[in-house]
Symmetry: D2
């Protein structure tokens, strides 16, 4: 598996906590989004670049595994790991670490597809601008 | 002042509470939105009707006054009161009542303007479809 | 597999849409939460009942599969299906149907565990109040 | 009027936009919260410090004035300006600037009071730890 990664730090918002005093579970998808956007900025493939090429990349699948709570006042780091896949999809894995404890708070993944803005149709082949971008990256080779 | 009103009941979501155990203050704007939409459905002037006539009605001003907390598991009623104004704007007042205690939890208001979708320009005069709708309503006369 | 179910209708909030004009993918976890709470009210096992017995039931796992978009102005139904498991966990499956089109918009699942409020410890055995509640339900037998 | 200020930069989240393609109006209260927390970190008076002294500081009043839209992909700066008041309350003013255009996107304010955590009672006098903190600050004198 070839991968690329980026890590962002996020300070938890008070509005993101719930009555149990911890970050509400659904807000991790916002952290994943932040990490994805930061990845895009670091690696030169931002949402608006993709849109400018005529594509949406909606999320068709996501999952979260919660390992430990994050409390208000704590910071997390979110590592977004893009996996290289030959198929026409974008798969990210995520690792959320509670920086106050060093513990992994959650892991997760999202899968995105390419949809042409004009015809609102699924692209079964990778768009060429994206395949070209993939070729230029310094992928990490994992076993 | 002439007014029209509608009242909706809302069950507080767990995700809407914060680490103080109560509804996060900013979520009242979502309750106001719910009440506005319910008002639109009851009085025959929905967001999509307005959009179909070529207008957005963005909120340009809002305020909230918090009187008492709302806890998870409690329900609220939100009364939306449309005020008649000769100017080209839509002004709602809101009263949020905690149905578990009978107490007023919050009051507030929002002001919307008409923006043409095509030119993205402020409409200085009330659009005619809206003025016609206003004429057909059974306004309540307040002193 | 034995199951129990409940179905709630939800009107999509404008604030729940995103710049693609559809419900933001992460908001489906709020719809799941609404369905879970409605299930609890219908079947007599609400969050605050569980808390009153000395337990939190945090979500440790969730996933969403998106099938079709939901636009502002549309309503969805969310069916929450509780699965009977001998282990000390609560597993719900969800089916979100776009009521404007009749299409399934998304499916998903969540897994919750029992955590004692006092000791903040995972309960490896089902709490007895919960096992007793399970015994009294009219489970649907699925193959 | 004596004031103290802090300015934070925020990248707009995709999930914070709505179907009009701009930041949903209610999300500005999250930006205000971010700015308030950043202010607390810069000036040595954080939420958890206040809580550690036995006080909550719930928001009892807020208002937002929208001047211009913020689109996805744009960044904003939020200046939080603490006003010195002799009364037992915390008043912030906010200025949100769209960094992509240089325009002011919104202004607003929030008012917080002191509530003792133990008795859940309003503090009519400024808590002494807070008055002492105020005395040590280098306030800006405005006319």
């Amino acid at each position: 598996m070839k991968t690329l990664e980026s890590t962002i730090e996020i300070a938890v918002r008070f509005s993101e906590t719930d009555a149990m005093g911890v970050v509400w579970h659904g807000n991790y998808l916002k952290f994943f989004e932040d990490a994805r956007e930061y990845f895009g900025a670091e690696h030169g493939m931002e949402y608006l670049d993709v849109y400018g090429q005529g594509f949406y990349t909606p999320i068709v699948k996501s999952d979260i595994n919660h390992k430990a709570s994050v409390y208000y006042g704590q910071k997390v780091s979110v590592k977004a790991i893009l996996e290289y896949h030959p198929a026409s999809k974008i798969v990210f894995k995520y690792i959320v670490t509670n920086l106050a404890t060093g513990q992994i708070a959650a892991t997760g993944s999202t899968t995105q597809v390419f949809l042409s803005v004009k015809e609102n149709l699924l692209e079964l082949m990778k768009p060429s601008f994206y395949a070209e971008w993939e070729e230029k990256q310094n992928w990490i080779e994992n076993e």
